[in-house]
Symmetry: C2
Subunit: 284 residues, 2 copies
C-alpha cells in the first residue's frame, strides 16, 4: 500500500527499510547553524521532532530511550553526584537524571540551543526539570567542554547524541573517550547511545575498540525497544573507568520515589543480556 502525503517517512539506507508516521500537521521547520529541525503533530504518536530527516523523538515512545539511557547507569554507580550530559538538547535525559535525589549537579552540554528552545515549546513535559537548581544548561561543543573539564570531576558522563555521522562523529572517537576517562572520578561510568545491534554492529565494534583503547576497563551494552528508531531495537553502552561493571543498587531501585513506565529492577537485570550474534561479533 502506498503512503500518501499525510505520512512522514524516514528511510534507513543500511537496511533499505523505512519507518513512517501518519502526521496531521507540520508545526515548525527551521535551519539552524548546525542542522534542520522539523516538528510534526502525528496522528497517534503525539509530537515528533526530526533533525536532518532523522526522527529524534516522539511524545509516545521517548520514555523508553530516556529511562534506559539514564537509570541503568545511575543505579549501577554506587554514589553518583556529578553528572554530565553531552547532547540531550530535548532535556528528557536531564529530567530522568534529576529524578535521582543523590545527584547534586547535572550539566547538559548541547551544541544547538534551538533544539532546547523548541523542546521547551513543543515538549514542555521533557523540560520540567530545566529550572531545578541542580541543572546547568550549557550551549557549547561537548568535546571542548570535556577537554576543559577538571580531571576526576565527574561521576557519570551520558553521551546522548545523534548518529555517528556529521556533528556527532567526534563523540564516537578514541580522543574524545580519552578525555572522558580523564574527566571521570574513580568508579566513574560513561554511557553512550549505541545504535541498533541488528544493523549497526560495525559501529558497535568500532566503539568497543575505541573505548578499550582509551583506558576503560569494562564495557557492557544494554538493549531496549524503540519503535521510532531503525529496526525498533536500540542500545546504550556503558564503559567503566576502573572496575568491572557488576550488579547495581537494586534496593534503591525497589524503593525509588519516582515512577517509570519501562525501567524496573527486573528490566535492569535483563537488559544486559545480548544475543548470540552480538557476543560472537564483539568477541571477534
Amino acid at each position: 500500500m502506498a503512503l500518501d502525503n499525510n505520512w512522514f517517512s524516514e528511510i534507513c539506507e543500511e537496511s533499505a527499510t523505512a519507518f513512517s508516521l501518519q502526521v496531521s500537521e507540520k508545526l515548525h521547520e527551521e535551519q539552524t547553524p548546525y542542522q534542520k529541525i522539523e516538528i510534526y503533530e502525528t496522528k497517534k504518536f503525539g509530537t515528533l521532532m526530526v533533525i536532518d530527516g532523522f526522527i529524534m523523538l516522539s511524545d509516545r515512545d521517548n520514555f523508553l530511550y530516556h529511562e534506559m539511557i539514564a537509570h541503568p547507569v545511575i543505579f549501577t554507580h554506587a554514589n553518583p553526584e556529578q553528572v554530565l550530559i553531552i547532547g540531550g538538547g530535548d532535556c528528557g535525559t536531564l529530567r530522568e537524571v534529576l529524578r535521582h535525589d543523590g545527584v547534586k549537579k547535572a550539566s547538559q552540554v548541547e551544541i544547538d540551543e534551538r533544539v532546547t528552545r523548541l523542546s521547551e515549546q513543543y515538549f514542555p513535559e521533557l523540560c520540567s526539570a530545566n529550572h531545578d537548581p541542580r541543572a546547568e544548561i550549557v550551549f557549547s561543543d561537548g568535546i571542548k567542554w570535556v577537554h576543559d573539564a577538571e580531571p576526576q570531576s565527574l561521576d557519570i558522563i551520558i553521551i546522548d547524541s545523534t548518529d555517528p555521522i556529521g556533528p556527532a562523529e567526534g563523540l564516537f572517537s578514541a580522543p574524545f573517550y580519552k578525555q572522558c576517562h580523564r574527566a571521570l572520578k574513580p568508579n566513574g561510568l560513561l554511557v553512550q547511545q549505541s545504535e541498533s545491534p541488528l544493523i549497526h554492529m560495525r559501529i558497535l565494534k568500532d566503539m568497543y575498540k575505541a573505548m578499550r583503547g582509551s583506558g576503560f576497563i569494562d564495557i557492557k551494552t544494554l538493549g531496549f525497544p524503540q519503535p521510532v528508531y531503525p529496526t525498533g531495537w536500540w542500545s546504550a553502552t556503558i564503559a567503566s573507568k576502573d572496575k568491572p561493571i557488576a550488579g547495581f543498587r537494586e534496593q534503591d531501585v525497589l524503593k525509588k520515589k519516582f515512577e517509570t513506565q519501562y525501567y524496573n529492577a527486573q528490566i535492569h537485570r535483563a537488559c544486559f543480556a545480548m544475543p548470540e550474534f552480538f557476543q560472537r561479533q564483539i568477541r571477534s
Copy 2:
C-alpha cells in the same frame, strides 16, 4: 521523504505507523481459499512473505521469531517429546523444534497448504526439517485438530498464528485454550505469539484472562526484537497446565548441539523481564 513504487509498505492502523521495505521484484501473488499471499524479493532483507497485506516473515530477521517461539518453551519443559505446532506454515518453527534431539514427534497443523508449498519454494532453508522422520505435516484446521486430540497426549503446543483477526481469531479464545489444556500432558506448556506489548496490551490482557479461565495456572510473557513487525518489539506468551513456570534446563542450553543467532542462556533468563507499564496493566 516520500516512498516511490519500489517499496512495500504495511500500515499499522492501531499506531498510525508504517513499516516499509525496498523491494526489487514481486516474485509471486495468489489468492488461496483462505488469504492472499505475496512473495517479494527485497533489497536488503532477502525474500519476504506477505499475507493479506501483513508481513509474515523475511529471510533476514525470521530467526528472531522462530528461535524465540521455540527454544524458551522447549528448554522450560523438563522432557518435551510430543510437540504440536498450530499454524507455522512457513515451517521455520518446525525446524527449530526438531533441532532438539529429545523431541520424538512434531506435528504442524496449518490450515493453508499454499503457505507451506510457497515456503518450500521461496524459503527452502526454513523447510530443511520437513522430511525429518519425526515431522508430521498436516493441512487442516488447528482448532478441530486440538479438539480431536487424545487427552493428555502433548507436551507442548505452539500457536504460531497470524494476528487475532480473521482466520486466527479462534486461536485466541477460551474454548480453544480449554481444548489445549485438555490435550496437554501433566507439566504441559502452551506458547502463543502474542503481538507487541507496546500497542496491543488489550489483546494481551484478553489473552491472559482467557488462559486463566481455561485452567492454566501460570502465564509468562517473553519479549524479543522483530524489525518487520509493528513497533519492532514482539512477544510470545507461555501458559503452564499445572505448575508454576520457574527456571529452565540451563545446562542443556549451555551444551546444546545446534547453533542459534539470537537465543542463548542469558537471553532465556532475561526475556521474561517485562516493563513497568506491562506489569501494571496485566495485574489490573
